[in-house]
Amino acid sequence: MANTIITSILSMGGLGLAMGAGLVLASKKFAVETDPRVDSVLEALPGANCGACGYPGCGGLARAIVDGKAPVNACLVGGEAVAKKVAKIMGVSDVGAAGDRKVARVLCQGGKEEAKFKAEYTGVKSCRAASMVNSGPKACPFACIGFGDCEKVCPVGAITMGEKGLPVIDEEKCTGCGLCVKECPKMVISLSPEKNEVHVRCRATMKGKDTRDACKVGCIACKQCEKVCPFDAIHVVNNVAVIDYEKCRNCMKCVEKCPTKAITSAFAKRKKAVINDTCIGCTICAKNCPVNAISGEVKKKHEVNAELCIGCSICAEKCPKGAIAMVRSEGDIKTSSCNACAEV
């Protein structure tokens, strides 16, 4: 009995000592400089080296994340907790990364021309003050008052008051800090992810007829957008259209249809699918296109009918070869809130 215990202690102790010494020696002799970020990401990862992420171990994934080749939430084992830590190290705001940058958007288009005034306001030139007097000078109780409280509060100068008496937001400069959202007494500014390109720029929940009387560009709850949406992403709730951005693919069909132009997007910059020569003719894109804009024979390169294409990107996502690019018709530039071009 005692003998077994002593021998096992000795052998295990010996092995442990030898291995520990070996590792110490190796880590002294063979120390190699690495990107400190790789080390800290590695630290955050589980370190089980299970390979479930598809990379060679946690070290491999850490390098891939630092190189930007893998998303911060690539580790299946660590789950959300690890993803958050890695995101923090990498300086990415949210787990979902880049496309989720939030910017402020103005949800009212009722400028001097479009909206009716019910009274003239001559008091202090401040939205907050004006809104206290019979809920503002415009007939629509949801309308932007237009004295530029948001412009004054913006710390980066991303908001300017446009000719129509409505704020125009420079999405490049906007940091998504949300100060304007808090400042606006009418709550017509909202923060939304940059990748959302289609917006219902009206919050008026009056009956359709009342909205039409108060403003030329209000949502009159006609539900035409609902009918035309291929993705069931827009619904009229409480007399105003609301977009479900989980489903919306920026196809802009509703923008085309909206009779009052209350729904906007940078329409002229609608994306179009373009198929390049790596297409192998698998027909997956054609099968999945909601508007049948893609045609082609099996094993031959497919073509996109640019007239029909609504730029929903489904084909690009489904394409196994990555042969489909979504190209904006007028150069690949970022959309802005400028309403002028939205109406072209």
Binding site: T4, T7, S8, S11, M12, L15, G16, M19, G20, G22, L23, A26, S27, K29, F30, V32, A48, N49, C50, G51, A52, C53, G54, Y55, P56, G57, C58, G59, G60, R63, I280, C282, I284, K287, K318, P320, K321
Partner: protein, 195 residues
């Protein structure tokens, strides 16, 4: 003698393939089999570690555990301790000596500690009573069998990308189903050599 070794190789690589017949090494098999290139690197690294493990296991078993009568209860602990440390050691050495070699297969090394094939090979060597040469051959062919499975799977998965797989089956599910078909094929090898 040579014939027995040949049987051992065929038996380990094809008949009792570690992935398809013994269900070992599934995690790296699923994780790293998405690209042909990485699966080759992974296969090489595993084969290397397995051969090394076979040697280490042989020495621990017959020079430490057996003489002291400890093999009944210290096998698992001592094998895994040595494997884990050795792998870490080799990784550090390879990284220092040759960065190119490290990129080709060294980066897969840490992944291998938790590959159950490694411990299984170590445990099977004393269980089956292999001698020194047989142990090395066994370790080597276990690695080759794993590499074969990885490469086959990677080849299929690269083509599988063209298929319009039902959404729920995407990811691991379709890989399992494919592995099931491959396992059926490997069933055909049973009885090929006397075991």
């Amino acid at each position: 003698m040579l014939k027995d070794l040949a049987f051992l190789v065929v038996g380990t690589v094809l008949v009792n393939n570690f992935v398809f017949a013994r269900f070992l090494g599934q995690c790296p098999f699923l994780g790293v089999s998405s690209k042909l290139e990485t699966s080759i690197g992974m296969g090489m690294a595993t084969t290397f570690v397995l051969t090394m493990t076979a040697v280490a296991a042989y020495f621990i078993q017959y020079y430490i555990l057996e003489p002291f009568g400890l093999s009944a209860f210290l096998q698992i602990v001592s094998f895994i301790l040595v494997i884990a440390s050795l792998v870490q050691l080799v990784e550090m050495i390879v990284l220092k000596i040759s960065p190119t070699m490290y990129n080709a297969f060294g980066i897969y090394l840490p992944l291998i500690t938790t590959n159950c094939i490694v411990l299984a090979v170590a445990l099977l060597i004393p269980q089956k009573g292999y001698n020194f040469i047989e142990s090395i051959v066994f370790g080597l062919s276990a690695g080759l069998g794993f590499t074969l499975a990885l490469i086959l799977m990677a080849g299929i998965r690269e083509d599988l990308e063209f298929a319009d797989v039902p959404e729920a089956l995407r990811g691991p599910a379709i890989v399992f189903l494919t592995a099931g078909l491959l396992a059926m094929i490997f069933l055909g090898f049973t009885g090929l050599v006397p075991l």
